[in-house]
């Protein structure tokens, strides 16, 4: 072992500057605070046109509509941090709903059916993880394949018909609230957000996600389990989109083969708005959640103001552009100063 008190080390005590540089909460979440502020401004702008936008009922609409996207975005984030991409999340979302509804229709209870749905996530996550790590294929290609396959299976399960949920007391959402006064979907979002943020910041394996995304070659040389980390990321991503699919059918009470079709791009957009780089190595759970909320607020605003909903995509695109430009501009200034 290296002795702790050495001549060299004693010569210079940690300077106050080193302590000052220690990231305060404010600077650590710079991007996230910026998104939150932008979102509040956007909300107020919509509210000035349509006062009901700022009503309690609308907040509840936004959170309910946004919950599935938030959960999916957290999964996509994990993959993006490792430098990968998961295009299959929307298809897994749809397939989970169809399988769960089909199993339920065959007479099984809510829990069994939900587990069957989550098994879809586990299966596709493992396939993605296996093909990326063991077969060494590019994440884009691998998840494009599973996107296509899971998407088509979602039609095959019921031959394209939508499935009603026969169990009205479906446990996830409608059977009261686990924490009194808080809808379950909010509880799930909060618990997952806190758990994933703590995992990414405070747990060694979480730091490995960043290490792998930062430089997989360096991480490998340093003895960090690159393949295991990537595999885990794809499984987590698929499982979270599966869970998100369950949550959705539990309050819509209907499973559609195309339910998740638009969600994949929205989840990737949410992660990017939240400050993650698609090149890997950066991103936070708080950012991804705020990004997903931002997209939901935009959609909600477009609806309320009464703009043709065909414009939603363009507005979301603009939001991504602004977010990325702010991020880039901020970085350039930081490295210059």
């Amino acid at each position: 072992m290296i002795p702790t008190s050495t001549e060299e080390a004693r010569a210079v005590e940690p300077s106050p500057q080193a302590t000052r540089n220690r990231d305060s909460l404010l600077s650590a979440y710079r991007t996230e605070i910026a998104i939150a502020v932008a979102m509040v401004i956007l909300g107020l702008a919509v509210g000035s046109q349509v006062p009901q936008a700022l009503s309690w009922g609308n907040f509840s609409n936004i959170t309910q509509a946004g919950a599935p996207l938030i959960i999916m975005s957290l999964g996509v984030l994990l993959v993006v941090i490792t430098g990968g991409i998961d295009l299959s999340v929307g298809s897994v979302f749809s397939l989970t709903g169809m399988v769960t509804a089909q199993v339920m229709a065959s007479g099984f209870g809510g829990i069994t059916s939900s587990l069957a749905g989550l098994a879809v996530g586990l299966l596709f996550g493992s396939i993605n993880g296996f093909l990326v790590t063991v077969a060494g294929l590019a994440p884009f290609v691998v998840t494009l394949i599973t996107f296509a396959v899971a998407g088509s299976l979602a039609f095959i399960v019921t031959n394209g018909r939508s499935m009603p949920i026969p169990d009205p007391d479906y446990w996830l959402l409608n059977a009261g609230s686990i924490v009194p006064g808080m809808p379950n979907y909010i509880l799930f979002c909060v618990v997952l957000l806190v758990a994933i943020e703590i995992f990414l910041k405070k747990v060694v394996a979480g730091r490995w996600f960043y290490a792998v995304g930062s430089s997989a070659a360096a991480a490998y040389l340093l003895g960090i389990p690159v393949k295991r980390t990537k595999f885990f990321a794809y499984v987590a991503s698929s499982l979270l989109s599966s869970f998100s699919g369950l949550l959705t059918i539990s309050y819509i009470l209907n499973a559609e083969s195309t339910a998740g079709a638009s969600l994949m791009l929205q989840a990737i957009a949410a992660v990017v708005i939240g400050g993650a780089s698609l090149l890997g190595g950066t991103g936070t759970a708080v950012g991804a959640v705020l990004g997903a909320l931002m997209i939901t607020v935009i959609q909600n605003g477009v609806n309320l103001i009464g703009i043709n909903s065909f414009w939603q995509g363009s507005v979301t695109g603009l939001a991504i552009l602004i977010a990325v430009l702010i991020d880039r501009f901020g970085k350039a200034r930081r490295s210059a100063g």
Binding site: I2, Y210, T282
Partner: protein, 496 residues
């Protein structure tokens, strides 16, 4: 042969092949506890491969590797490897993580454990402060992507020092360090070996450093052990070079022999405050000192960044190049010091790597068939042995890749060539060949500006040297007739 008492690791008859090429053909190598061991050999001799096999990041062919604990009892490979730390030649850094985390994250073995942040920061600071206390105090929380190459090198070394390893393998650790940092590193290593029984394996092509730091040496050549554990005091420099198979063909032409009369071209003048250097065609200007100062001069010369400090003037040139592309078109060439990240185009074959600058300079729209012959000629002129010009650069050794970068400018009618550490990681024979090439280019009237952290080579080849102190300020110009190692060390603030 010096007997290995109390070995940490012992390698016997190790072989390794990549496809049809066999890199190691039976290597013996052992390291004793508490010794500093120089591992010597030319580029491609198999040193890095052996290091990778010892650490487990490459698999072995035949042969044995055994690890031992301090009492001499054998250890399992996993136990042994857990006590080995490496400083890789191509830096293994995580750009998006902080300096502190880069140093300490790899030390955690288990994934589901809490990150002990305060402890990590203390450990990182302690290790980094051993090499550069000032840098440690300033940079612990910076992201590694914002560091320069040589700062990255210090992070790598600090990581090895803080790992608690019993054996540290340093694969050319000083290639990116200044003389002051190198001497601090050496004193740390010496103290640790003495006080804690740490063993160090040191790979370097710098003969002077090897003599300064190492006790014993092993020489590898073409995948075989030529000298197995011999005290360095028993070998002369000439003998070592000979054993490595590094005897250079001829390198008699000293720069003084270059005849500058009749060289055509405009002189170049470089100015900063009260310092002015005028370079006539064919001059080789050495730039010495810590990277901060030379970097400003180099970026001013090649238009790589907005460096306002320097004024460069030459008839027919603009005051400042807007981009490296403009500089290249005007005949100002540049060979980067960051070969891996900014030099070699890794996914393109050798031919595209060699011809990259020519295509820019000539501004050709279509790729002509003549290029192939030109590439073959250039490779021949540089004695690069490649199976095919369509192979990827990764099939060549680091030193050979360096030659590809030089080949980009060889034979082009450039009026200025700026070189950053062109001999980094290059073996002795290749170094001599590169010196020869630099002289050759100068003899055609090209002005050479050459930054190196190895003062000895600047003294050997340059006509003048401009020195920078550790603060990054130009501290003086030395003319050929006044050159001495002491004078240069004094001006660069690295007198030891």
């Amino acid at each position: 042969m010096v007997e290995t008492r109390n070995p940490v690791v012992s390698v016997k008859g190790l072989t390794k092949s990549y496809g049809a090429t066999s890199v190691l053909k039976g290597v013996d190598f052992s390291v004793a506890r508490g010794e500093i061991h120089a591992l010597l050999g030319g580029n491609g001799a198999g040193k890095s491969t052996m290091i990778r096999i010892i650490t487990g990041s490459a698999s072995k062919g035949d042969g044995d590797i055994s690890f031992f604990d301090p009492s001499g009892a054998p250890r399992t490979d996993a136990e042994g490897r857990a006590r080995v730390a490496v400083v890789h030649q191509e830096l293994a850094l995580l750009p998006h993580l902080s300096v502190a985390e880069n140093i300490t994250l790899p030390h955690y073995r288990r994934g589901f454990a809490a990150v002990k942040k305060r402890l990590s920061i203390e450990k990182a600071f302690e290790a980094l402060a051993m090499i550069d206390p000032e840098f440690a105090a300033r940079s612990l929380h910076r992201l590694v992507e914002d560091l320069s190459l040589h700062e990255g090198q210090m992070v790598e070394i600090a990581r090895a020092l803080s790992s608690g390893a019993e054996l540290i393998l340093l694969d050319e650790p000083t290639a990116n360090l200044t003389a002051a940092e190198t001497s601090r590193l050496f004193s740390v290593l010496r103290r640790l070996t003495r006080e804690t029984g740490l063993s160090v394996v040191f790979v370097s092509h710098r003969m002077k450093e090897i003599r300064q730091i190492a006790d014993v040496c092993t020489i590898i050549r073409d995948g075989r052990t030529i000298v197995d554990r011999l005290a360095l005091s028993e070998l002369s420099d000439v003998a070592i070079i000979e054993k490595m198979g590094q005897v250079a063909a001829s390198h008699s032409a000293s720069s003084a022999a270059v005849d500058r009369n009749g060289m055509k071209g405009e002189p170049l003048s470089i100015r900063e405050a009260d310092l002015e250097i005028t370079l006539s065609p064919g001059t080789i200007l050495g730039v010495a000192g810590a990277p901060a100062g030379p970097a400003t001069l180099i970026s001013a010369l090649v238009g790589a960044a907005q460096a306002k400090r320097w004024t460069v003037s030459r008839a027919g040139w603009p005051e400042r190049f807007a981009s490296p592309r403009r500089a290249a078109a005007a005949g100002a060439g540049f060979v980067t010091g960051d070969r891996t990240h900014k030099g070699i185009l890794h996914s393109l074959p050798i031919i595209d790597n060699v011809l990259a600058s020519r295509r820019v300079v000539r501004g050709a729209t279509f790729i002509s068939g003549r290029e192939r012959l030109e590439c073959v000629d250039l490779l021949q002129a540089l004695s690069v042995k490649a199976a095919s010009i369509w192979d990827l650069p990764a099939t060549l050794s680091g030193g050979t890749q360096q030659k590809l970068l030089l080949a980009r400018w060889l034979g082009l009618p450039s009026s200025l060539l700026v070189l950053e550490e062109p001999t980094r990681g290059v073996d002795i024979r290749t170094k001599k060949e590169i010196y020869q090439l630099i002289r050759q280019m100068a003899s055609t009237g090209t002005i050479i500006v050459w930054w190196s952290t190895e003062n000895a080579e600047l003294l050997e080849v340059c006509d003048r040297i401009v020195a920078f102190d550790t603060e990054g300020c130009a501290s003086g110009i030395i003319e050929r007739q006044d050159m001495s190692e002491d004078r240069l060390a004094e001006l660069t603030g690295m007198a030891t």
